[in-house]
Amino acid sequence: MTLEKLRPGQRATVLALRLREPLRRRLEDLGLAEGTEIRCLGRSPLGDPAAFLICGSAVALRRADCRRIEVEG
């Protein structure tokens, strides 16, 4: 499944990042790479973006970008 399906509180492992270059690189720098464990912390009040726990810190990502991140729950 993709990351946008992850509900608040659920955990998953990243399988693949199918993102364009500057964004992919930025996420890798933040610690989001294949094999990383990720947890959904919650959604913003308007429903998008959502916050995720990556490598011990909270990072907000938009739904459109989450659709391109493959995870396994």
Partner: protein, 600 residues
């Protein structure tokens, strides 16, 4: 000999706090990623320290990361201190590992140990030093002994022979997609040196975020904070304003008597007292107090880590306008100063989205325009004797309106000149930090006061003197000021204002806080406290429609000269700079014309 040492590290690991502690300088600090976008240098013992913008890696993503990377590659610094956040070591070590390949003299500084202890984490710095093959020092930047400890570590670093390192190869390695290898090494090191469970973002942060970014409370809390800040600004400014105004008046009286006793010529008395001193005292008395109160309060929110949450909550509308959510952060910074908001746009990686943020930033009223907005609301829209709460509510409304206008301008640009796809959005939500309330308040109060006073002396006083002169230079049809104001009058009236108001906005280009003093100067009045100012404006034919149009034009006109120069520097183009001035001005004129037509 002085040795140059660079401070590098991930964003928001407390580099600037450490830098301030070490050098005694006052770099602005705040709890959000990307606060430092420019390098700063200062002295610490026999070292020259350079504070670099935060970067996650040496593979450059955004403009401010390129600054750090290029600086390190040039090899100007004889040594590099890589500052790491103890709470977030796994990610921070990746940068340290990349730098290790690049820098022959390098020290790793594990910062925020106190914070980590509170979160139940312990870092074994000796084991880390063995694992990395580099000297490691553990610090808490807020503690007093940190300066001496770091200097000692630097001394030791320079006594030891440099390690072999190959900048060329290091740079190549940093380019390579070798992320995986670095992750694994960093993970392995963390297993060796970390004791305890927990990360930077803990349960306490999660609890706070459930409220502050939750569906129910996020917007009420943001509105309450906005209202509260506006209320404290308006309420708190009244007293000091009155004191300053009276103080300046009696000092002015004394000076006048002094001038007369010395037998100074009338023109000198006019130029210095009526011109320069009058304008200086008006800027200080009316404009300074709201600015000196708003800014520190805003700094508190910034220090606590609230600003990124506001950007997170408000990202959806930015998405709809094709903009980056971080533009919200730039707008919030613009509330303090548009030039800072424009420079801050460096946190946005995509050029298109960055231009959107730059071109629309001046629609957010900066600190220098606040006092004028407050004065207009107080004099014309809040009934006499009503509470400061009503004015605060009105001001909050105006600020929300300006945000909506800014978004509208963004949407317009996104659909015309700056079409393109979203480049994606990644925003870090830093852990909440208890702001050092006393320190933040005192420091930013002092900073702001000094800055405004400096600008008042440098801009308002000469402007006052010049205005006085222009008011005295006679032509056939009156003084130069009246002639110019008369020439602009037809245009001004069409837009619901008058020639004097337009002239004041034009002459106020160097500093927005001087618009009201200049206007009073053109009207030929000295000013004073609010009721007197209101009387002057009414005498000159102001109605509530005039006030509304001036309010709209205050929100929407050209940015001040400092901001314009900053936009030129950041975009590298006079054309974009011209557009950044033309866009808000055009919007302002249209709205004013509509308001004036409806008002009739």
């Amino acid at each position: 000999m002085e040795r140059t040492v660079a401070l590098a590290g991930n964003p928001n690991v407390g580099k600037s706090s450490l830098f301030n502690r070490l050098t005694g300088l006052r770099q602005h600090t705040g709890n959000w990623t990307g606060k430092t976008v420019e390098t700063a240098a200062g002295r610490c013992g026999s070292y020259r320290l350079v504070d670099l913008p935060g970067t996650y890696s040496l593979r450059p993503g955004s403009a401010e990361e390129r600054v750090t990377r290029d600086y390190l590659l040039r090899g100007e610094a004889e040594a590099v201190v890589v500052v790491c956040d103890a709470c977030c070591l796994e990610r921070n070590l990746i940068l340290a590992l990349q730098c290790r390949a690049l820098c022959p003299r390098m020290l790793v500084c594990v910062n925020m140990l106190d914070e980590a202890r509170r979160r139940g984490l312990r870092v074994d710095c000796e084991a880390l030093s063995r694992g990395l093959g580099l000297p490691v020092i553990g610090l808490s930047a807020r503690e007093k002994g940190s300066r001496a400890a770091l200097i000692a570590a630097l001394d030791a670093l320079f006594e030891a022979p440099p390690r072999p390192a190959d900048p060329g190869k290091g740079a190549e390695e940093a380019e390579e997609p070798c992320a995986q290898r670095l992750f694994e090494e960093s993970r392995r090191l963390c297993r060796l040196v970390l004791r305890g469970e927990g990360g930077a973002y803990g349960p306490r942060d999660a609890r706070l975020d459930r409220i502050l970014t939750g569906r129910v409370w996020a917007f009420p809390v943001m509105l309450l904070l906005l209202l509260g800040i506006c209320f404290l600004t308006i309420r708190g400014a009244n007293l000091p304003s009155a004191w300053l105004s009276r103080g300046f008046a009696s000092l002015g009286g004394l000076l006048r008597r002094g001038f007369r006793a010395l037998g100074a010529p009338a023109w000198l008395e006019g130029l210095l007292l009526d011109g320069a001193y009058g304008s200086l005292s008006l800027v200080t008395a009316v404009m300074l107090p709201p600015m000196a109160i708003f800014f520190p309060l805003f700094s508190l929110l910034e220090d606590a880590g609230f600003l990124p949450r506001a950007a997170y909550n408000l990202d959806r509308p930015f998405q709809a306008c094709g903009a980056c959510g971080k533009q919200g952060l730039c707008m919030l910074m613009g509330l303090g100063c548009n030039a800072v908001g424009v420079t801050g746009s460096r946190i946005i990686a995509s050029r298109r989205e960055r231009l959107l943020a730059i071109l629309t930033n001046s629609i957010t009223p900066c600190n220098g325009r606040f006092p004028l907005l407050i004065a207009l609301l107080g004099m014309f829209f809040a009934p006499a004797g009503s509470s400061a709460l009503l004015s605060a509510g009105l001001l909050s409304l105006v600020l929300c309106g300006s945000a909506a206008l800014s978004l509208a301008a963004t949407a317009l640009l996104d659909r015309t000149l700056l079409r393109g796809e979203s480049a994606g959005f990644v925003l870090e939500l830093p852990p909440y930090r208890r702001p050092q309330i006393g320190r933040v308040l005192l420091r930013s109060l002092l900073d702001r006061t000094l800055k405004v006073l400096g600008r008042a002396a440098a801009v308002a006083a000469p402007a006052g003197a010049l205005l006085w002169l222009l008011g005295r230079v006679q032509t056939e049809s009156g003084s130069l000021l009246t002639v110019w104001a008369g020439a602009l009058d037809g245009l001004g009236r069409f837009f619901g204002m008058d020639g004097a108001i337009l002239l004041a906005f034009l002459l106020g280009l160097p500093a927005n806080e001087t618009v009201l003093p200049i206007l009073l100067g053109i009207y030929g009045a000295a000013g004073g406290e609010m009721p007197e100012i209101r009387a002057v404006l009414l005498q000159n034919g102001w109605t509530s429609v005039t006030a509304l149009c001036v309010l709209l034009f205050t929100l929407l006109h050209w940015p001040c000269s400092t901001t314009l120069l900053t936009i030129r520097r950041e975009t590298g183009s006079w054309r974009w700079t011209a557009l950044a001035a033309a866009l808000p001005t055009a919007m302002g004129l249209v709205l004013c014309a509509v308001a004036a037509a409806l008002g009739k």
